[in-house]
């Protein structure tokens, strides 16, 4: 440290460099996929079934499968997640139980995705005998995104000022009426943000659906929740590692559709959060 000003410049340069090392590749990844994937995208690609051993045709069944799975996951996870968030923010006291719940949420978020796959296989597919089906896959994904929904919803609920609750209670409303009529409406944007982030996560995960629902190739669409389904992330895995000689264009095209789907949801979530923060009246 002979010359503090100069060493500061050098240090800041390296910090900047490190930041570039992260941000530039992210940009490159998105650009590469966009540039090489765009030529593959047309109406036929999005609306046709895969043909010639997945070397031609489209990815429609995979898109539909992912939509089913993600909807199922949210139907399961949103009510439980929201109620859990209400419990943590409105009812829980700072005690040992509360600490354990928070620790469980952290752990649930940290369980490796492939372990969720194992769990879904053991519980839903084998034990409950749902078989490899949309039901099993959705429930597995639902449990996986629970921590995201709980955490974001809780933050939204807790950011509603205490005075709102006090006024409502002092006017004679019950605790639940207060939560429903006053706290929840003010927390809705945050809850929606969490839900969309959960959707994005569920849409992109592959490992949890590997043995619970994903079908290698299915020409027809699933008819009930007990059917197997194709899914976008698994389809991308299959055509890039399991099937030889797939046209690169199709691979990039599939990657692009998946990436756009997931990033679009994240973008929507970010925008809602941003607007909400700006609009806050308190």
């Amino acid at each position: 440290m002979r010359n503090p000003k100069r060493s500061e410049k050098i240090a800041f340069f390296f910090l900047f460099l490190a930041t570039l090392l992260i941000v530039v590749p992210v940009g490159l990844i998105v650009v590469i996929i966009a540039v090489k994937g765009l030529p593959a995208i047309n109406w036929q690609f999005l609306s046709d079934i895969p043909r010639q051993g997945m070397r031609a045709g489209g990815i429609f069944p995979a898109i539909v499968g992912t939509v089913y799975l993600v909807s199922g996951a949210i139907i399961f996870a949103l009510p439980i997640g929201l109620l859990a968030a209400i419990y943590l923010s409105e009812y829980a006291k700072e005690n040992f139980l509360n600490r354990i719940i928070k620790l469980s949420i952290v752990n649930l978020a940290g369980v490796p995705s492939v372990v969720y796959g194992l769990f879904g296989l053991a519980l839903f597919v084998v034990f409950f005998k749902f078989g490899a089906s949309i039901l099993s896959g959705s429930l597995t994904l639902g449990i996986m995104i629970l921590p995201i929904i709980i955490t974001t919803s809780r933050e939204a609920l807790e950011s509603v000022p205490q005075s709102f609750r006090e006024v409502s209670l002092s006017l004679g409303a019950s605790k639940w009426q207060t939560i429903r009529q006053v706290v929840l409406p003010n927390a809705i944007p945050g809850v929606i943000t969490g839900t969309i982030l959960g959707l994005g996560r569920a849409a992109g995960e592959t490992a949890p659906i590997l043995f619970t629902v994903a079908a290698f190739y299915l020409p027809q669409l699933p008819k009930s929740i007990f059917d197997q389904a194709m899914a976008l992330p698994y389809h991308l895995y299959v055509i890039s590692t399991q099937v030889p000689n797939v046209d690169e264009k199709i691979r990039y095209g599939t990657a692009l559709v998946l990436l756009v789907l997931v990033l679009f949801m994240n973008l929507v979530a970010i925008v809602i959060r941003y607007k909400f923060r700006k609009k806050k009246k308190w």
Partner: protein
């Protein structure tokens, strides 16, 4: 009637609150239920230290040491790359970047966190793998090194965001005090901010490593999937220039073929137990560090 309705709702809320505990226990129980059955055939010590993984030979050899070492090599590599870069980036974002750029950078990091791992695996296969192959002049680019680089990218969003939170929660007075004493901005960061945020940064690093150990799809697609004990030689960059196979990739790649109720099936669940225990330990420890941070401030 209203009282009754309220009572029901409050019970529902409580039950949902407890759901996370319930699910963590349920996951662990079902892993145990399927995984412990293995130890009727193999003793736990042999399972953890056995040097060969030939699950479909007759009789099957179910030693997961090569898989543990595979995960270990890839994780070390990813940690070496992602920790310094991640912490440096967190410092840049929280201390140096001006307002607008700061928000843009945070957005970029969130974007990276959102990219599905199978997409990263795919892009790694078509760009990084050929690059590693030609730069290091290897017979194949599907190596531990490629896996480490890709995983480093997946760990960075976690490291950056948790470390940035930790830096942000250092009281302003610390920084103002140091600056008032005539320290430069960098001296303040290096001697005051970093030590004050150290336990949060440690938690960030641990959570990042947890992410790496549990990562499945990208690893399966680019590490070459060879279940042999990595040789540590100078000529193969200390084990990094050869194909390895991680615990997660083994489960993902083989569960599809394993017959429900076979030794192979049980063994894959037993690997799941190992992964669950590791991630549990990491998350609990990281949480303790984060808590210490909050108490101190």
């Amino acid at each position: 009637m209203r009282k009754f309705k309220e009572f029901i709702i409050e019970k529902l809320v409580l039950i949902s609150g407890l759901a996370s505990i319930f699910f963590v226990i349920l996951i662990f129980l079902f892993l145990l239920k399927e995984g412990l059955a293995l130890f009727k055939f193999v003793n736990p010590f042999e399972f953890l230290s056995g040097k060969s993984w030939y699950p479909i030979s007759e009789p099957p050899q179910l030693g997961i040491l090569p898989l543990i070492l595979g995960s270990f090599v890839v994780t070390i590599g990813a940690a070496v790359i992602s920790i310094p870069i991640g912490v440096a980036c967190a410092l840049y974002i929280s201390e140096i970047a001006p307002g607008k750029i700061k928000e843009a950078l945070k957005g970029g990091i969130e974007l990276l966190a959102a990219i599905p791992s199978v997409v990263l695996g795919f892009i790694g296969m078509v760009t990084l793998v050929p690059w590693v192959k030609s730069v290091f002049n290897l017979p194949t680019g599907l190596t531990a090194l490629s896996g480490s680089i890709m995983l480093a990218f997946m760990a960075m969003p976690t490291i950056v965001s948790v470390a940035e939170d930790a830096l942000y929660s250092v009281p302003k007075s610390y920084k103002e005090g140091a600056l008032a004493l005539g320290a430069t901005h960098w001296q303040t960061i290096w001697r005051v901010m970093l030590p004050a945020a150290s336990s949060g940064i440690l938690a960030a690093v641990m959570l990042g490593i947890g992410r790496v150990i549990g990562e499945t799809m990208a690893v399966m697609m680019i590490t070459g999937n060879s279940a042999v004990i990595p040789k540590v030689l100078f000529s193969n960059l200390f084990g990094f220039a050869q194909p390895v196979r991680t615990m997660t990739a083994t489960i993902a790649a083989e569960m599809g073929e394993a017959v429900v109720g076979s030794e192979h099936y049980f063994a894959l669940f037993a690997i799941g137990i190992v992964l669950f225990v590791i991630s549990f330990a990491i998350n609990v420890t990281a949480d303790l560090f984060l808590h210490r941070e909050h108490k101190k401030v």
